[in-house]
Amino acid sequence: MMGRGTAVGSRSGMASDRSGYGRQRAARQRLEVISGHLGRQEASGACEGRQADDVHRNAVPRRRQDVLKWNGWGFRDSKFLFNKKGLAELTGKRYQLSGTLMPGLKDWFEGTFGANLQHRSPAVPALNPSVVPPPNLHAAFVEALKEATIPCTHEPEDRVFHSHGHCLHEIFALREGKIGRVPDLVVWPGCHADVVRIVELACQHNVCLIPYGGGTSVSSALQCPLEESRCIISVDTSQMNRILWIDEKNLTAHVEAGIIGQDLERLLREHGYCTGHEPDSMEFSSLGGWVATRASGMKKNVYGNIENLVVHIKMVTPCGVMEKSCQGPRISAGPDIHHFILGSEGTLGVVTEVTLKIRPFPEYRKYGSVVFPSFEQGVSCLREVAKQRCAPASIRLMDNAQFHFGHALRPQTSMFMSFLDGLKKFYITKFKGFDPQRLCVATLLFEGDQNHVLNQEQQVYDIAAQFGGLAAGEDNGQRGYLLTFIIAYLRDLGMEYYVIGESFETSVPWDRVLDLCRNVKERIERECKDRGVQFPPLSTCRVTQIYDAGACVYFYFAFNYRGLSDPMRLYEQVEHSAREEILASGGSLSHHHGVGKLRKQWMQETISKVGLGMLRSVKEHLDPQNIFGNRNLL
C-alpha cells in the first residue's frame, strides 16, 4: 500500500543533518559497503546483513512488533485518542502533529458519522498466542535453513505479524482477536545469496514462499491462501537493507531491496542525494515492495514513478536469477523483462537488489495551496496544468468533504493563520460567492532549484486564477500533506468508536474524472443506504496525481457500523460496487495499490483473456511448482 503516512519526523531530521556527524556517518557507510562486498565473497555464504539488526540504522527492527502495532497502523508510540476533555491528540513525538490538540475533530467526527464518544468498540488488548494455529513445519526444510545459518522463527507473534497487510478486513479481524491462516515460519535472509539458498531449498522441499517487504499491502496480497496445505514461509526482506554502492558519475545507487523508504532517503541524504520516491507509506514500505506492486510516489512529477526510477533489477526465481547484462538507460531487446517483475506482486520470485536513479538533494522546497469555488473548476485547473506540463512535484485536489476534514484537524494553538479565518476574510470582504459547501482546495509542493521553483509557482498560480482559484497560503498546503501522513492512524481512532473506513484508488482519462468521482461517491452513498447503514457514510475523493492523459483519483469511504450485524460483509459489498462503478465509468483497476487477491476477479476483463494467458505462461515457466504461492494477481 502506497497511500499512507509519510514520515514527517524523518523529514525534520533531514533538516538538522548538516553537521560533521553526516560525514562520519558517510564514512561508516562506506566501510559497511566494503564489508558488504567482502561478506558476499565469503565461501560460506554468511551475510553481513544478517547480524545487522541495528535499531539505530533501521527504523524497523527484525522483531517488528517491538516497535510497530500488531493490530493497527504504524508505530506503537503514536496513536490518536480523544482526551478527557474530548480534544483529539496524537501521542508520541514522531510527527509534526504529535502532541498538538485538535479541538475540531470531535465535532467533525460525531457530526460526520453520527458517532458518539460514549460508544466504544475497543480492540482486544493483546494477542493471545493460544489462538494462533500451531505451525505446519516442514522439518527437513527447517533443518536445511539452520544448516545455512539463515535466521528463522515460528514464534506466534512473528507469524501473526507476517500474516496480513493493512486492508480494513485484516485489521478489523486482528482487533477482534481473530486469527486465520498464518505463515508457519518467518525467515530473514540477509543478502541475495541467502535468498538464492532459500528458494533452492523451497523448490527442493516443495514449500510455499511469500515475500514480505514493508507489510503495507492493501490488496490482501499478504494473506495466506486458505487452500494452501504446504508449509508457508514468509520471506521477510527487512534485513537486506544496505546501500551497496553509489555511482556518482551516473547518478545511480545499488540497493538491497528490503530497505524501507525512510531509511533509503535518510542514507542517501547523507551523501547529498535522494531518490525522490515518496509513496505515502514510505515510513514502512520497502524498495522490493515498490517494484513488486508498481508503486507511485507523491513527487512523481519531478522524479517519476518506480518504473521510471529503476535501472536494473535482480530477482531470484525458482528457475534461477533474472537480471539484465548492462545498465544502459534504455534497451531495445525485446519486451522489457523489468515489466514482468514490476507489478508481479510476489508471484514470480523475490526482488533482492535494485539499481535506482538518484538525484542531488533539492536545494529549495516550497508548499502552496489554492482554493477553488468548486471541485469542477479545480479539476479544470489541474487539467490545464497537465496540458502545460508545468506540474509541481506534487499537486493534489481535495473535494469539499476533505476540505472540511482537513479543517477539523486544525491545531488548537493558532500557530498558523487558520484556514477558515483566512477564507472568511476572503469572501466576506472581497470574493463573495465561494460556497463553503462547494469549495475545494488544491495543495502544492514545489521542489528544485529556487529560480525554477519560483517561476513554476507563478505559472501554476496564473493558471489557477483562470479557473477562479485563489492562493490560500503555504501553511494550508503543508497541512494538506500532513493529512495524508496521518490518515491511517485516524482510521484506527475511528475503529475505537464503531467507525470503519478504507481508501482505494484508480486512474482515469481527463474527460471522465468528474463523472467518475461523482458516480463512485454517489454509488457508495446509495449502496450504504440500500444496505441499511443508518447514517450517511463519508464518501470523498481527491485527485492525487496528474498525467498527460489523465489523473489518479483516491477515494475515502467510512461509515458508522454500530447496530449492523455484519459490517465487514457490508463493507466488502460496498467496496465491490464502488470498484464496479469505477470500471464502468472508465477508470482502471488500480493506479498503484495493485491487484493482490482483493481485485483478482477483475483481472481478465482488465487485461483481456489473451493478456492473462501471457502472464500465466510466464508464471508457468518460472514457477511450475507454484513455490511463490501467494496466489495474487492471476
Binding site: R438, D511, R512, D515, L516, R518, N519, E522, R523, L583, A584, S585, G586, E605
Partner: protein, 663 residues
C-alpha cells in the same frame, strides 16, 4: 427476477384528487402568482437558457459532426456552424416562469370550462418530487390529445415541482403567438421526419443530453412520437429514447428516472377529428385560426380527466446486467457512435416497458367499457342488457387489474346514462335501444358515402373501446389461441399465443422477450376468474368460462378480420411490389366493395393505423420485404408466407413450434 418485472408488479392502487376543486373555490390569479420555488437539491446551480445553448453549440460532439458534415458537403466549417446555430435557435425552448404563470392563469380558466374534474394521484407527485431530488427526470406521458401538452406543466407548477421542457412537433411552432408562448413555457420544437439529416440529429441529441447532464429541467417527451388517433398506444419511437438514456450509459449522470405518466379522458376534445384522420382525411393544419375556431369545443362537457404519475423507473436498475457500460471506455465519449445491439435492445425494451406501465396506470371510464360492449353490438343493444354487460365487464377488468373510475354510491343506471349523455356525439337512444349516432347520408349519395359515414361512427366508438383494449389484449390473445388450437395441450396453445402476439405486436404493444411471462400471466388471469382450468399441462375452458373467452375473442375479432382482409388483398394483387401509398388506396377500394356486399363486417380494416400495423407485422414475420429506393419504400410480398399466416390465423394450420420458455 429482473428489475423490469419488479416495476410491473408494483402496486397500482392509487388515490386521486381533483385539482380543479380548489380552482373553483379560490382565485385563479393568486394561483398563478403564488410563490414558486423550484424544489431541487441537486448540487449544480441552475444555468440560464443562453448558457445552455452555448454549451450545446460548443460541445465536442457537435464539433465532430460539423467537421464531418463540412467534409461531406464541401461547405466551410463556419457555414455549417451557422446552420447548426440556426437549427438550435429554431429548436430551443426559452422557459420563463412568468409565462408559466400566465399560462397557468389561462389554463385554470380553460380546464374548468372543459372538464368536470382533473384527477391526479398525489402520491405519484410525491414520488416524482423524490425522484427529482435524486437524478435527472424524464417525464413520459401518453399522447391522446392536444390538451396533454401543457397539463403536466400546469400540474407541476401547482405542486411546486420543476417545470419540464417539452419536445413538441414543429407544426405547433408555426402557430403565430401560440408558438412563442409555448416556447416560453418550455416547449422545444422538433422537425417531423428528420431522416438522415446528420447535423439536425446532432444538434437535437446534444441539446437533449445537455439538458439532462446539467439537470436543467425535467425532459418531457412522447415516446409514441405522435398523438394516437386510435386512442390506443402506438409502437414507440426510439430516437428520443436513445438520447435520454445515453448520458447514463456514458456515465455522465449517476442515474436517470423515467416516469411513465398515464393521461386518460372521459371524452377527448378532438374526438370528431379522430375518425376522419384514421380514415385518411388529413387533419386540419394547426393554425391559430384553427384553434380560435375550435372555441366552440369550449362549450362542450368533456367529463373527467385522469393523470396518473407512475413509479419512477431507475435506468440504472433497469440496465443492471443488460448493458455493459464499459463498452464506451475505449472511444472518446463525444465521438458519434452507433448504438450497439445491447443498447438498442435495451432502449427498445425500456420504451415498451414505459408504454406498458402507461397502460397499466390508465384509468378506464365506464364509457370505454360501454363502447367495448357496443362494438360487439353495432346493430344496437337494449339499454338494460348494455348496463348488465357493462357491469359484468367492469368486474372482469377489475379482476384483470385495471383502474376503473366507476363512481361509488351511484346507481349503475345513472352511471350509464351519464356516460351516454356525455357521448351524445357517438351514441343515441331510441326508446330502450342504444344505437350509434350516425349521420344520415344525403339523399341520392353514392353507397360508398353511406359506408364512409357508418365507418366514422363505428371508428369513433372504436376509439373509446381502444382505451380499454390493452387490459383485454393478452387474455384475448389467449382466448383466440384456445379457440384456434386443435388440442388443449399447453405447448400448442403457447405456440398459437406466441404467434398471435407476434402478429398483433404493434396493435397491442407487448414488451419484447416477455412472451413466456405474458403467457403465464394471461393463463393465471383467466384461471383466477374461473375461465380456464389447467390440469397436467392442459389448458381447458370451463363451462362457465365460455362466455368470457367468447367475449374476449369477439373484442379482438375486428382486428383479426381486418388482417385477414389485408392478407387477401395483398395476395390478390398481381404486382411484384407496391408502396405504402398504393397499398392504402388499394385496400380502401377493396374493402369498400367487400363491406358493400356484406362479406366483411369489420370497419377497423378501413383504419389507416390498422393497415400500417398489418404491414409492419408482415415485415416482422418476413412475409413482406421492405426495400428503400430513391427515397421511396417498396414492399414485395411473399404470397406463400402470407397465405400460411392467414391459414394459421383462421385455425386451418398450426404455427411452427417454438421452444416454450417459462420465465
Amino acid at each position: 427476477m429482473d428489475s423490469s418485472a419488479q416495476y410491473l408488479m408494483l402496486s397500482r392502487r392509487e388515490d386521486f384528487r381533483d385539482i380543479l376543486e380548489e380552482r373553483r373555490t379560490s382565485s385563479d390569479l393568486s394561483h398563478a402568482l403564488k410563490s414558486f420555488t423550484r424544489m431541487s437539491s441537486r448540487a449544480s446551480p441552475p444555468c440560464s437558457v443562453s448558457t445552455l445553448n452555448k454549451t450545446v453549440l460548443e460541445s465536442q460532439h457537435l464539433h465532430y459532426i460539423m467537421q464531418e458534415v463540412s467534409k461531406d458537403t464541401g461547405e466551410p466549417l463556419e457555414a455549417i456552424r451557422e446552420e447548426a446555430a440556426g437549427i438550435l435557435e429554431e429548436m430551443s425552448q426559452n422557459l420563463q416562469l412568468g409565462y408559466i404563470r400566465f399560462l397557468g392563469f389561462i389554463l385554470s380558466k380553460v380546464f374548468k370550462r372543459l372538464f368536470r374534474k382533473i384527477n391526479v394521484n398525489e402520491e405519484g407527485l410525491q414520488r416524482l418530487q423524490q425522484a427529482m431530488q435524486e437524478s435527472p427526470v424524464v417525464l413520459m406521458p401518453n399522447h391522446r390529445s392536444y390538451v396533454d401538452f401543457l397539463v403536466l406543466s400546469y400540474l407541476l407548477f401547482t405542486y411546486d415541482l420543476s417545470i419540464p421542457v417539452i419536445a413538441a412537433g414543429i407544426p405547433l411552432m408555426g402557430m403565430q403567438l401560440i408558438g412563442e408562448i409555448l416556447r416560453r413555457s418550455g416547449a422545444f420544437f422538433i422537425r417531423r421526419s428528420i431522416g438522415t439529416d446528420k447535423l439536425y440529429w446532432a444538434v437535437l441529441s446534444e441539446y437533449v443530453k445537455t439538458i439532462l447532464r446539467k439537470d436543467f429541467a425535467p425532459v418531457e417527451f412522447y415516446v409514441e412520437g405522435l398523438r394516437s388517433r386510435t386512442l390506443k398506444s402506438l409502437p414507440p419511437k426510439l430516437g428520443m429514447m436513445h438520447m435520454v438514456l445515453e448520458p447514463f450509459f456514458k456515465g455522465e449522470v449517476y442515474d436517470i428516472s423515467l416516469v411513465p405518466i398515464s393521461i386518460s379522458y372521459d371524452r377527448v376534445v378532438e374526438e370528431s377529428l379522430l375518425a376522419y384522420e384514421i380514415l385518411g382525411v388529413p387533419k386540419p393544419k394547426e393554425t391559430t385560426m384553427g384553434l380560435l375556431k375550435a372555441r366552440k369545443v369550449m362549450d362542450e362537457d368533456y367529463g373527467n380527466m385522469h393523470v396518473c404519475f407512475g413509479h419512477p423507473l431507475s435506468v440504472r436498475d433497469l440496465a443492471k446486467g443488460k448493458v455493459n457500460r464499459k463498452q464506451y471506455n475505449l472511444i472518446p465519449r463525444d465521438l458519434p457512435m452507433k448504438p450497439s445491439e445491447s443498447i438498442h435492445a435495451f432502449a427498445n425494451t425500456t420504451a415498451h416497458l414505459v408504454l406498458r406501465l402507461q397502460q397499466d396506470n390508465m384509468v378506464l371510464s365506464p364509457w370505454s367499457l360501454m363502447a367495448t360492449i357496443l362494438m360487439q353490438n353495432l346493430g344496437g343493444i337494449n339499454l338494460k342488457l348494455l348496463t348488465k354487460q357493462t357491469v359484468w365487464l367492469k368486474w372482469l377488468v377489475l379482476d384483470f387489474g385495471a383502474l376503473v373510475d366507476w363512481p361509488v354510491q351511484v346507481a349503475d343506471s345513472e352511471v350509464m346514462s351519464s356516460g351516454l349523455s356525455l357521448h351524445h356525439s357517438v351514441v343515441r337512444c331510441e326508446g330502450d335501444q342504444v344505437l350509434l349516432a350516425e349521420q344520415k347520408p344525403q339523399r341520392g349519395a353514392a353507397p360508398e358515402e353511406a359506408v364512409f359515414r357508418r365507418a366514422v361512427a363505428v371508428l369513433m366508438c372504436a376509439s373509446y373501446r381502444n382505451q380499454a383494449l390493452h387490459v383485454l389484449a393478452s387474455p384475448a390473445m389467449l382466448s383466440v389461441a384456445l379457440s384456434l388450437a386443435a388440442a388443449s395441450s399447453r405447448a400448442d396453445i403457447y405456440n398459437l399465443y406466441a404467434f398471435l402476439r407476434e402478429m398483433f405486436y404493434n396493435e397491442f404493444i407487448f414488451i419484447p422477450d416477455r412472451t413466456g411471462q405474458d403467457f403465464e400471466e394471461a393463463c393465471s388471469l383467466l384461471q383466477k376468474c374461473g375461465t380456464v382450468q389447467i390440469i397436467n399441462q392442459n389448458i381447458m375452458v370451463t363451462d362457465k368460462g365460455l362466455s368470457v373467452t367468447s367475449f374476449l375473442t369477439a373484442a379482438v375479432e375486428p382486428f383479426i378480420d381486418a388482417y385477414q382482409v389485408i392478407f387477401r388483398y395483398i395476395c390478390s394483387r398481381s404486382v411484384q411490389e407496391f408502396t405504402e401509398k398504393q397499398f392504402i388506396s388499394g385496400i380502401r377500394t377493396f374493402t369498400l366493395n367487400l363491406i358493400l356486399t356484406g362479406e366483411v363486417k369489420s370497419y377497423d380494416v378501413l383504419s389507416s393505423e390498422t393497415q400500417k400495423n398489418a404491414l409492419a407485422s408482415l415485415v416482422r414475420l418476413n412475409a413482406l420485404t421492405k426495400k428503400k429506393r430513391e427515397e421511396q419504400t417498396y414492399f414485395s410480398p411473399n404470397k406463400a408466407a402470407i397465405g400460411r399466416t392467414a391459414d394459421i390465423l383462421a385455425g386451418k394450420i398450426a404455427p411452427q413450434a417454438r421452444t416454450y420458455s417459462r420465465l
